[in-house]
């Protein structure tokens, strides 16, 4: 037991802490980077989900919302809703906004928009604000439009605008639509008219694709969730979708929560990688202090004293790094929100979120503990003489107690990561992969050392020295391999993902996709539609299918509602409404893999053909039953066949295709794809809108542009997250170089004394890093390719089509960049005068 108390130990520790801090800069930088990243990601996700939760009423524009597809609520249904509180009714649909007046070649004649009809009670919460003047309930011939629509059609207040058979006057531009978040994904800019105005357009017809929403403001004190549940039970078979103020944007909330967890895991992985830097930094610091440690031991300090003295120093710097990381992490989200602009769905204000900060601090301190203890244990347990000898005879063993403590800290870290994860299996997989890659790279480092020691010694002295540097005592080969390997792997991963996404957008989609989608074609007008297209674009390929929307309510006797949100993994099609169709024949682009297609004139029990992947997800097959709610009516059908659907064609692909007898009687519209020479696009669009004022024409380019935008944002998020890991890798690289600085400084001075120039000395290090990079290139290419493949194919579910030229150039460029950073750290060594250095050697 030590004779020294903590006060005395602190006095000794403090004495050289001001000098010691310089030696512990790497520990500080690595911990700071990791904790700041985790704290920033956690705080941002908490801020957004908190905002969604606390402002749910305003985001939803109601306490309870009911959405119904294809139809409006019946009068008895409306009365039931009115009995609970104040009701506001809206109808939302896709519709073509058409310019009125002299055509302008620079301005499109029509634009796809989200048209919303609102009653006089709208909005129940929040305010619809216009760029000029206040919003008041609109007259039937007045319309307010989003700025994006005004810009595309070059409209100003007072200009006319046509929808279907009605012409409106623009009454103002929308500055803020209060329920924008609650509305979810939209395909075009918004326009708002009164309910009477909407009916004037003639677009709301039986079978047309629209959605009615009934927002309820409850009397004060009434529980929104309970009201929702009561309504859900009462109208269980009506096919309604419910939301309440506590869960205003469930998809967005889920997305933010998952994205936050995914980025947090990448941040945690970066922190684990930075742990290597922490370990190196502390080992290098303690190596510098070797003389002091030995002297303290000679003077009678016990192992415990030594541990506590340096634990105090390291603990102070680690605590400071964690505190600085937390401060920056807490302050960063407002900056990120400002920089992100419209990419983020909402703009939360500044607030301190204790939980993510506490979690980040715990991660940081655990990592610091795990990675500093081994070096400290070695210094603690070795006798004084062994410490003096350690420069030439490094001992990497640590005592059992320290090993157990490190293992306990690791378990605690993994436990914390899994306990705070929404998807523990996924988190375990990410952490496990990170651990595996680290172990692989560390193993590779050991292999490189072993190999370098055994290869024939080259005659050239600089090459000889470069190879010797890989295995000499105190060589940082493992850390260099981890840092370089990681950086190169990430460069390959990013290049693989980016080029595959580019290929997906630029090559696959345009080659296979039709030019236009047309929705809401009257079901009786198929022949007229074909004739209109043929007149403007002879030879155009037109594919027409019935279009309905339905919700799967049960499968094989299992009610979806009873799952209470715990859907089987990958069962996205159970969430909300999906497009459904019917067909007498097997649809184009589908391949029958089980069962048989029904006869053209099938009558009797309703049959359905299901996508085979969906069937696998639900664990059902041919012969099982499936119930779908279409237009408020539940239709039970027997699964007659399974199909393999080619989702890449961008044509009409449906998970559910019914036998005609099941749905033909339901009011519905038709949807069409048109494949033609691009030059006919405008003419066909004009002719269709003239002949069918109610149709929506969606140019494939618009969809591609939106998809590209989403992919771009996703790849930016990945690049941002990967940058943290690359930064951690670079910090480890700089740390490894700093740790071997003493040995390199010695060599460079002797070489300069013997007549070597600075470039020759620098060349030795370039050779060393170049050798490592060359050896790592193949490994990084394999690891990075595997990671990119996983993200592209398994996460995004896209085709794997990387541009190998770009990947290899990125790998080369990444190697040069990383080596450049490494060599830049060595430049100060070059300016050391030999005599000045020799005095210190």
């Amino acid at each position: 037991m030590s004779g020294l108390g903590w006060a005395a130990l602190w006095r000794i520790a403090r004495r050289d802490l001001h000098v010691g801090f310089r030696g512990l800069r790497l520990l500080f930088i690595c911990l700071f980077l990791g904790v700041a990243t985790l704290a920033a990601i956690g705080s941002l996700a908490a801020a957004i989900t908190g905002e969604l939760s606390t402002r749910g009423q305003h985001l939803l524009g109601a306490d309870v919302e009911i959405a119904i597809s294809h139809r409006e609520a019946s009068e008895p249904e409306k009365q039931a809703l009115r009995a609970t509180g104040t009701v506001s009714e809206t109808i939302r649909m896709r519709a073509m906004a058409q310019r009125v007046g002299v055509p302008d070649p620079d301005v499109p004649a029509s634009v796809l928009t989200e048209l919303k009809g609102v009653d006089s009670a709208y909005p129940l919460y929040g305010t619809l604000t216009l760029d000029k003047g206040a919003y008041a309930p609109l007259a039937p011939d007045r319309i307010v439009i989003g700025a994006a629509l005004a810009e595309r059609l070059r409209l100003r207040t007072g200009d006319p605008l046509r929808y279907g058979t009605a012409t409106f006057t623009v009454a103002g531009l929308i500055a803020d639509e209060p329920d924008r978040i609650g509305e979810g994904f939209t395909l075009g800019p918004v326009a708002i008219v009164s309910m009477e105005g909407l009916r004037r357009t003639g677009l709301v017809q039986p079978g047309s694709l629209f959605e009615s929403k009934y927002r309820i403001r409850l009397p004060a004190g009434v529980d929104a969730h309970a009201t929702r549940e009561t309504l859900e039970q009462r109208f269980a078979a009506a096919g309604w979708k419910f939301k309440d103020r506590d869960n205003a944007a469930p998809s967005l909330g889920r997305f933010i929560e998952r994205m936050g967890q995914f980025l947090s895991l990448i941040g945690l992985s970066a922190l684990v990688i930075a742990g290597i830097g922490v370990s190196n930094g502390v080992a290098s610091y303690l190596a510098q202090k070797r003389g002091s440690i030995a002297t303290l031991k000679v003077l009678g300090a016990t192992s415990g004293d030594i541990t506590r003295i340096y634990l105090l120093q390291i603990g102070c710097v680690a605590a400071l790094a964690v505190l600085c990381g937390l401060a920056v992490g807490a302050l960063l989200p407002p900056g990120i929100v400002g920089l992100a602009g419209d990419v983020l769905p909402i703009r939360p204000g500044f607030a301190v979120h204790p939980l993510p900060l506490a979690t980040s601090a715990a991660y940081g301190l655990l990592i610091a503990f795990m990675f500093t203890l081994p070096a400290l244990a070695r210094a603690r347990t070795q006798p004084a003489a062994a410490i003096f000898r350690a420069l030439v005879d490094p001992d990497h063993r640590i005592d059992r107690r320290s090993a157990l403590l490190v293992a306990a800290a690791a378990m605690l870290l993994i436990g914390l990561a899994l306990a705070t994860a929404g998807k523990p299996l996924f988190s375990a997989a990410v952490l496990g992969t990170t651990g595996l890659v680290l172990a692989l790279l560390l193993g590779l480092g050991l292999a490189v050392r072993w190999l370098a020691k055994r290869v024939p010694r080259p005659r050239h002295p600089l090459l000889r020295l470069a190879i010797a540097n890989l295995y000499r005592p105190g060589a940082q080969t493992s850390a260099l391999v981890v840092a370089l390997g990681l950086a190169l792997t990430l460069f390959v991963t990013l290049a693989g993902i980016q080029t595959s996404l580019d290929a997906e957008i630029e090559r696959t989609v345009p080659r296979r996709a039709p030019n236009q989608f047309v929705l809401d074609i009257p079901s009786t007008s198929e022949n007229q539609f074909r004739a209109t297209v043929a007149a403007e674009a002879p030879g155009a390929m037109v594919n027409i299918v019935p279009a309905l929307r339905g919700t799967i309510t049960a499968y094989a006797g299992q009610r979806v509602a009873d799952l209470k949100g715990r859907l089987p993994e990958g069962a996205w099609f159970l969430r909300g409404e999906r497009g459904v169709t019917y067909s007498a024949t097997l649809p184009e682009g589908s391949e029958l893999v089980a069962g048989a297609w029904w006869p053209r004139d099938h009558a009797g029990q309703s049959l359905v053909s299901l996508d085979e992947a969906a069937a696998r997800t639900l664990g059902i097959s041919v012969g099982d039953t499936l119930t779908v709610n279409v237009l408020g009516r539940e239709i039970e059908a027997r699964i007659a066949s399974l199909r393999k659907v080619n989702w890449d064609t961008m044509g009409f692909n449906y998970v559910l295709v019914f036998s005609p007898n099941a749905l033909a009687g339901a009011p519905h519209s038709l949807a069409a794809t048109i494949t033609m020479d691009k030059n006919h696009d405008a003419a066909v669009s004009r002719a269709l809108l003239k002949a069918f004022p109610g149709v929506s024409v969606i140019a494939i380019e618009e969809i591609i542009s939106q998809v590209s935008q989403i992919l771009l944002q996703m790849s930016r998020a990945i690049v941002a997250a990967a940058s943290v890991a690359i930064l951690a890798g670079i910090a480890v690289l700089i740390g490894a170089i700093a740790a071997s600085r003493q040995a390199r400084s010695y060599d460079s001075v002797i070489l300069k004394t013997l007549g070597a120039t600075r470039w020759q000395v620098l060349g030795t290090q370039a050779l060393e890093y170049g050798l490592l990079a060359a050896m790592l290139a193949a490994v990084s290419l394999a690891l990075g390719t595997a990671a990119a493949w996983f993200v592209v194919v398994q996460v995004f579910e896209f085709g794997w089509a990387p541009d190998w030229g770009v990947v290899l150039i990125t790998l080369g460029g990444g190697a040069i960049l990383t080596l450049g950073i490494g060599l830049a750290g060595s430049i100060p060594l070059m300016s050391v005068r030999p005599s000045a250095a020799l005095r210190q050697l």
């Binding site: 020295l465 060599d747 300069k752 004394t753 013997l754 000045a836 020799l838």
Partner: protein
Amino acid sequence: MHAPINAPSIAIQARNVTLSLGTGATKVGILHGVDIEIARGESLAILGPSGSGKSSLMALLSGLERASGGDILVDGVDYGALDEDALARARRGRIGIVLQSFHLLPTMTAIENVAVPLELAGGKDAFARARDELAAVGLGHRLDHYPAQLSGGEQQRVAIARAVVSRPSIIFADEPTGNLDAATGATIVDLLFARQLAASATLVIITHDPALAGRCRRIVEMRDGRIVTDRTA
């Protein structure tokens, strides 16, 4: 009276050389106007107590340090006009240096250490010459041993072999026996003089040992950064 600059008989010439280290309040004057000329083939000892500036003078004369003032010409080359790399090139094949702590490269064997100066100068038969030189210092049987596997005396022999292998015209030795026992030190000194004779080189030894200094033809004594005596034996 100084010989004219660049005189063929003069190996080293220093005029009014000063050296200061540090800046501002921490600036320390090390050498204060040193003048010295060393003839070709001469053996010269620079004697003095610790802190007298003798090692600093050697560092300046060998191009390891740059003077704060004055002129230094070595083999007719003006050191003042050279940058760090040019000084390194000027040392190649012209100057051999033996240091008190040997300063061998720990990751290279004895023969590799000796071959390095020749390789840096682009010599083709570096290893053959290194082998001969190590044999000449009595280490023909230790060619492939690493510095850590050699005794102090053996390490200093390797250092001497490394210093003379490129047949330099000038050899500097800074306290060559400082880290060795008396008997080994005497052997090393014998070896140093033997190699100097064999190479017809100028030898400059830095020492605080009067007995070692006494083996040189000329002794310069320094104190407080100045030459106080300059005598020929």
